[in-house]
Symmetry: C3
Subunit: 253 residues, 3 copies
């Protein structure tokens, strides 16, 4: 840090087990990746190439190499996994992960129907090859999953071998964990936390108000994701109580 | 493409007659233009220097040279044309186009009142000098043009020599084709399409939901515009059915 | 300017006493600062490193050096001042300003309670060391300060030695001068202007509609702030009547 302030919450350091920041790269150029890492590498734990953007992104190997050089793992968005599954191309997906030397992968069912057993089987199989993040929640704002079902799914997916379970929000932050207004489904989050350890969950929270809400509820070292590259520095100040929204949260009363 | 997926819609390739993507550059630096082109050149057919930003943009000649080098035509936003017209400086505008070796120009009346004959006369004159895009629709959200009038204007402007007619939306996507909420005026679009060939229309659609709506209605190869530079890669996935919003649209039933 | 148009409002040039543009840098990389300055240096009068982002921003000295090289003063956001004050670290803050050779500083009380005398005392002390901007208005949207109080605070702070007083809006433009919808508190602004010279006020106006509103009320050379780096070129066109929103504002009737 550039100077000294008292009464700051303790932040975990890399490699983090909690306090993770997952960033969504939805098509950065190579130079933009470099710029992003020059300001934020220390604060970013993992990067998702959003949904299937990797399909149309030029210089994909070079991009992966830049992240690798910086020691930041990268994975393809869950929608890409689903795009292969819906086309009966799971084996092709496994080969793709190898071809690009991916160390992480996401299993999700945000855009397709998949029963729990099938999803857990994919997690189990992929977990032999990579570290798996699995995502719960639909991208369809009309599909409301009740809390007990979120809990059951998260528990089953962690047992099947998922490293973290992700709470769905999309790039915009308007589905899954959130109402279409972006407001947090507070009761849902609180009920989940009675059953699933908070370190095991990565909450997608692209909007500032959502990040603030999670930091206030769970502290500086909550895991959050779908952070835009230019929002990592601002997020770090929210975690530390150095932005208006959380300014008094960590101060001695 | 970086890997192989079945059941993708066919995308047109450059030089495209349909499936065009028009991007709005509202003041990118030279290096940002390079970054943008390094990821998106293949997917961008034409770039607009938004409204009169070219007036205050430094290094304009160098910027135009970078786009030219990449084989991507550039034009000045229609508001610049109108700024010259309202000042009785049409001849100056023609000289300006020559001075910067512009190959394309836009004729619009979004901020001024101009009758149809006058507008078509400008199209006719400029069409002897450059390729003309003409824009229909007001920037004033209080001015609602009825569908039959949109059709009449579009037809007259194409006959006067416009290469494409543009449906107005502004940078934000809240006027012209759209309600102030950003919602598409669906009946308007459908009625226009009964009379004007879809290849001849370029729909301004800066918001994701608007792009999704047009791709669902008109397919992967609809012409859309006012796309922000960082949204070209995401748009390409929407066109291909590789984002949640259009995920099932192109799949075999 | 790249070409000649008649009937443009006169714009002040650097060093400006009115018509100032204050930009918020909330974590740009060094190269992004260079890019930003390459397009906008001429139009930017002062840069704020938003709230306490300077705490977590790498390469801070290098960043300050780039702005200094371009002749653009930089200051730390008021929330950083408040973070030191609330921790009883005012002397540390003064040392920090020296350590980074800061020429400007902000005094604010957007996130803490501070009485007027105390605030003016800080302004008086810091004014012996740097040029002071002081900010009026709360970041808490529930705290509505009545107009007479804004005027009293602004007058007292200018008398205490503030160079400019800033009207609070946050990064989003939804508190202080604005309703939570972003709409300007018009009566407030007009009443302030009956008592405080308009050159002495810098209005935070991050949203386009807010910038348009101030330009229409106060002309091309109104002081505005919290402008995002990529919005400086668009703002300049708004000032000059070269964007739809102010297109007819400066034309001879």
């Amino acid at each position: 840090m550039n100077y000294t302030l008292t009464q700051l919450p303790e932040r975990t350091a890399k490699p983090r087990h909690s306090g993770l920041t997952m960033v969504m790269d939805k098509g950065l150029s190579l130079r933009e990746v470099e710029d992003f890492l020059s300001t934020s590498a220390e604060y970013v734990d993992i990067v998702k190439l959003g949904w299937a953007t990797s399909f149309v992104t030029p210089h994909l190997k070079e991009k992966l190499a830049i992240y690798r050089e910086a020691g930041i793992p990268v994975y393809f968005g869950g929608t890409l996994f689903e795009a292969f599954i819906v086309r009966n191309q799971f084996e092709d997906y496994r080969k793709l992960l190898d071809q690009y030397s991916m160390q992480y992968a996401e299993v999700s069912d945000g855009s397709i129907d998949m029963n729990q057993d099938e999803k857990c089987e994919y997690i189990r199989q992929l977990a032999t090859q990579v570290t798996v993040l699995s995502e719960v929640g639909s991208k369809d704002e009309a599909k409301i999953i009740p809390p007990y079902k979120w809990i059951q799914l998260m528990r089953a997916e962690l047992e099947a071998g998922a490293w973290k379970v992700i709470g769905e929000a999309r790039e915009g932050g308007t589905v899954g964990l959130f109402r279409s207004s972006g407001e947090v489904r507070q009761g849902l989050v609180e009920e989940i936390l009675t059953q699933i350890p908070f370190e095991s969950i990565l909450w997608e929270a692209p909007q500032k108000e959502q990040q603030v809400w999670f930091v206030k509820l769970l502290g500086a070292n909550v895991n959050v994701g779908n952070i835009a590259p230019h929002e990592v520095i601002p997020l770090e100040t929210i975690r530390l109580g150095l932005r208006g929204d959380t300014f008094t949260h960590f101060l001695d009363k």
